[in-house]
C-alpha cells in the first residue's frame, strides 16, 4: 500500500493522491474509522511533498471522506453505503422499443463496411481536416471569450445564441430568402433539425415523399418517426416531375424532403426551372417541404442557384435546414432551421424539452469566425482544393471505371452507376480483398433498389490513392461485367 502510487504527468499531484486514497476507501482496503498515516509519514511512503499530502487530506475532508480528530490525526469516515443491495438484473434488449431496435439496425457505424489498416477508403464525405484554419478558430474563441466569457459558460437560450441567429438570418437573406413571417432556430447540426421537425409534425397519412436515392440519415430518421418513405427517381437535372405528379395525384403525404442544391448521394443540382415546377406542385397539393441545404456552398461552377425557400417568396411552406458541418467544421455541432415563425415557436419548446440548448461555445465560435470574415477566405481555399480533387477523381473514373453514368456537380463525392443488374455489393467484396472500400449505393434508396450504384467520397483520400483505388475498383468491375 502507498508505495505503488505512480504520478501521471500533466495533472496536479495532490489530486492524484486524493484519488488514490479515495480508491483505497471505495475498495475497502482502507476501512471506516481506520487511522490514516500522518502527513509526514505518507509523504515519505508515497514519495511526494508533505504539502501535497496536506492538500489531499483537506480535499478528502471537504468531500466527507475522512475526518480529523484534533491532536490525534485523520481517520477514514463511515462510507454511506458499503453494503450492496440485492442485485437488480434486467434484460435490457427485451426492454427496448421498436424505435431503439430500428436505430441500431440502421446504424451504419455499426453495420457498415469497416476498413482495415492500409485500406484505401472512399466511404467518408467528411471534410479534410488538413484544410482547417485552426488559428482563426482559436482567435474566434479568444475574441469571444474576452467579450463575454461568463455569459458563454452559463445557460443560453433554446432558440440559440442571438448574435449568431441574426447573422444567419442575414446570410439567408442574401440567398434571396424573404424573411417576412419567418424565424430561425439553432440546432445541434442538420440532424437534430430534421429530428425536431419530424417530432413536431402531426402524422395524418404516415407518409413522406422524397428523391430516390436520398440522404441515408434522412431515410433512417423518417423511418424512426414511423413514416413510410416514397422515393421519386432522379434525372440529370433533378427529381422526375412527371413521376412525382403521378404519385401525388394518387396518395397523400405529410411532408416532402428534398435536397435540391447539392443532392446526396448523386451530387445533382436541381435546375432553376425544376425548382419552380416543384414548388408549384407542392402548392397545388399543399405539402410542407423540408429543404436540406446540404453543401450549397461547395459547388464549383455554374451560376448562383437560390434555395427552394427563396423561390417560395412570402409563402411559409418551406422548412430550410442549414449547416456548415460539411463546409466548415463537423466538430462544431451547429445547424439551423429557417421556417415560419409559428412553427419555430413550437420547435423551440421541443428543443428546450429535449436538450435545453445547443453548445454556446460552438455557436459563439462560429459566430465570431463568420464575423471575422473567415468563411469567405476558407471557402476560397477549400473550394480550390476540393475542385482540384474532384476533377482528378472524375478523370480517374473516366480512365479506369466502366460506369454507365457518373454524376456530381461539386461537393466531396461522385456517384457512379453501372449497367442494370450490376451488383456493387459483390464489387465491394472483391475490392475489399484488394484493399479498397466505398459506399454501396443501395443504402441511399428508399425501395431496396440501386444495387448497381456506389458513392465515392474523395475528400480525405490522397491523389495517389484516388488513382490507385479507382484503378482497382475499375478492374474488379470489369471482371464482374464480363
Amino acid at each position: 500500500m502507498y508505495q505503488d502510487f505512480k504520478i501521471t504527468a500533466g495533472r496536479p499531484v495532490y489530486v492524484q493522491v486524493k484519488e488514490y486514497l479515495k480508491r483505497l476507501m471505495v475498495k475497502g482496503v482502507l476501512q471506516p474509522h481506520q487511522k490514516l498515516p500522518s502527513t509526514r509519514e505518507l509523504s515519505e511512503l508515497m514519495n511526494v511533498s508533505r504539502n501535497t499530502i496536506i492538500s489531499a487530506y483537506i480535499g478528502l475532508e471537504e468531500d466527507g471522506l475522512i475526518y480529523t480528530q484534533k491532536g490525534k490525526g485523520s481517520y477514514v469516515a463511515q462510507m454511506a453505503i458499503s453494503v450492496t443491495a440485492p442485485l437488480l438484473e434486467l434484460n435490457w434488449k427485451e426492454r427496448m422499443n421498436s424505435q431503439a431496435l430500428l436505430a441500431e439496425e440502421m446504424d451504419l457505424m455499426k453495420h457498415g463496411i469497416r476498413a482495415e489498416r492500409g485500406t484505401i477508403s472512399f466511404t467518408s464525405i467528411a471534410p479534410n481536416e488538413k484544410l482547417f484554419d485552426l488559428g482563426n478558430v482559436k482567435r474566434a474563441f479568444l475574441d469571444r471569450m474576452a467579450v463575454e466569457g461568463e455569459v458563454l459558460l452559463n445557460y443560453g437560450y433554446a432558440k440559440g445564441y442571438k448574435p449568431l441567429i441574426d447573422l444567419l438570418k442575414q446570410y439567408m437573406e442574401q440567398k434571396g430568402v424573404d424573411l417576412t413571417g419567418k424565424d430561425l432556430l439553432i440546432t445541434n447540426g442538420f440532424t437534430e433539425g430534421l429530428d425536431l421537425v419530424l417530432s413536431a409534425l402531426a402524422k395524418r397519412n404516415g407518409a413522406v415523399i422524397c428523391e430516390n436515392p436520398t440522404h441515408h440519415t434522412a431515410i433512417k430518421n423518417l423511418r424512426l418517426h414511423g413514416y413510410e418513405v416514397t422515393g421519386i427517381d432522379m434525372e440529370r437535372d433533378g427529381i422526375n416531375l412527371e413521376q412525382l405528379e403521378q404519385v401525388l395525384s394518387r396518395q397523400s403525404f405529410d411532408c416532402a424532403y428534398f435536397i435540391p442544391s447539392y443532392h446526396n448521394p448523386t451530387g445533382i443540382v436541381m435546375s432553376p426551372q425544376k425548382r419552380l415546377e416543384l414548388m408549384r406542385l407542392m402548392t397545388r397539393y399543399q405539402i410542407p417541404v423540408i429543404e436540406d441545404g446540404f453543401n450549397e456552398e461547395l459547388r464549383y461552377s455554374g451560376s448562383h442557384v437560390s434555395p427552394l425557400i427563396a423561390a417560395a417568396g412570402e409563402g411559409n411552406g418551406v422548412i430550410y435546414l442549414g449547416s456548415f458541418s460539411k463546409v466548415l467544421f463537423p466538430g462544431l455541432r451547429v445547424g439551423w432551421v429557417l421556417a415560419d415563425q409559428e412553427l419555430i415557436y413550437y420547435l423551440e419548446s421541443l428543443k428546450r424539452a429535449r436538450s435545453i440548448h445547443t453548445s454556446t461555445l460552438d455557436q459563439s465560435i462560429l459566430y465570431q469566425y463568420l464575423l471575422n470574415g473567415n468563411l469567405d477566405k476558407y471557402l476560397r481555399r477549400a473550394r480550390a482544393e476540393y475542385k482540384r480533387k474532384y476533377e482528378w477523381t472524375r478523370r480517374c473514373c473516366e480512365a479506369y471505371m466502366p460506369y454507365s453514368l457518373l454524376t456530381g456537380d461539386g461537393g466531396l463525392h461522385l456517384f457512379v452507376s453501372f449497367a442494370e443488374g450490376f451488383d456493387t455489393r459483390r464489387l465491394l467484396e472483391l475490392c475489399k480483398q484488394r484493399g479498397v472500400i466505398f459506399t454501396p449505393g443501395d443504402i441511399f434508396y428508399t425501395d431496396g433498389t440501386g444495387r448497381e450504384t456506389l458513392r465515392l467520397g474523395f475528400s480525405r483520400v490522397s491523389d495517389e490513392n484516388i488513382e490507385a483505388g479507382i484503378k482497382i475498383i475499375g478492374e474488379a468491375a470489369k471482371e464482374l461485367l464480363t
Copy 2:
C-alpha cells in the same frame, strides 16, 4: 446607390462590400446582365480602396453572382430564380402533433414568471458566473487545440470523446460504482440523457414512478413521452417507502425516476438506509431505476454518500444520469449516461440518429479542465461561496419567513413549505407587485398539489437582495396568513 454603404467595425471590408452588392442583386436593384461600375469607379463611390473592390468582385464571381467579359468589365449574372412560385401557405399550428403542443404548454420559459427590470428574482438555480474560472477554461481549450485541433473540429463519435469517457468512468468508479458490464455515453447534458433513455424504453404499462415533488423538466419529459407520472411523498430523509411499497403492490411501472443525492426541489439528501431499502424494493418489483445525480457535488456537509448505482453493485438495473452543468458551466452542454453496456449500445445508435454527437469542443474542454485538476480547486471555491450564501439565506428565512418547513441540505436553493391551504401563487402576485419573484412549488408536483410551497434559488442574488427579498416575501406571507 453605392454611396449609402457603411462600414461595420471588426469585419473585413471586402466581405462587407460583397454582401452589400449581393443584397442589391437579390433585391433586384441590380438586374441580370447589368454592367457593374469599374473597380476604380466603385472604389470612389463606396469610399473604399480599389483592392477591396477587386477582392469583392473576385468573391462574387466565385459565387457565380457576376461574370467578367475580358476588356469590357463585370456584369450581374442571371439569378437562377427571380420568379417566385405560387404561394404555399400552411397553417402550422394545425399541423402540430400533441407532443409539440404539450412541449409548448409546459415550457416554463414561455409561461413562467417574467421579471421586470430591478426585480429581485429567486427563480434561477443556475450557477453564479462570477465564480467561473475563465482563465482555466481558456487554457483547457488552448491545451487541447494544441494537441489535436484538427481532430476536435472534424466528426467525432456518437458515444463521446474517448478521453472524456475514460475519465468519467474513473470518476464514477471513485463514487463506488462497480463498472463491470457497464458503459458510458456522453450526452448534451442531463436532459438529452433522460430523453434518450425514455425514447428507447419499451412502454408496457405507460407509467413511471418518482418522488413528489420532483424536477420539473423530468415531469415534462415523462409526459412528452406519453407516461402517466405517479409521485410518492417526500419525508425529511427521502421518499416515503411505505407509500412507495403500497403503490408498487397495486400497479406496474415501466421505470422509476429518483433524485437521491440532492433532491430537486426539496434539497433533501436520501439517507443511506433508505437507499438500500429503495433498491430492495426496486429489485423485488424488477423496476429499472433512472438515477438523477443532480448536484451531488454541491453538498456542504455530512459524510460521503454513494449514489444508488453504487449500491446496486454488479446489478445492471440502475441508469445513472450525470452532469456538471450546475456544478461547473451550464454553457458546456455535456452530461453522461452510465448504465448497462447493452442499454448503452442501443442509446448510442439512437443518439447518432438524432444528433450525430455532442460538441467535441465542449467535451474536450471539459476533459482538459478536469485533467488539469481544476475541478477540485473550483469546487472548493464554489462550495465555500455557495455555503456562505446558503447559510445566509437560511438565516434570513428563519428571521422573516413564517414557514412551516424549510428544507435544503446544500445546492443552490432552499425549499419553503407553508401551512396547509396556503397559496404561493397568490403570494407571488403580491410579491411581484413589490418587486420580488420566486418559483411557486406546484410546478414540481405530479398531482397538482404543492400550492403551499415555493423554491428560492439564491445563487445569483446578492446578499443584500437576499435579505431584502426574503423580508418582502415574509411580510406578504404574514399578511396572507392572517
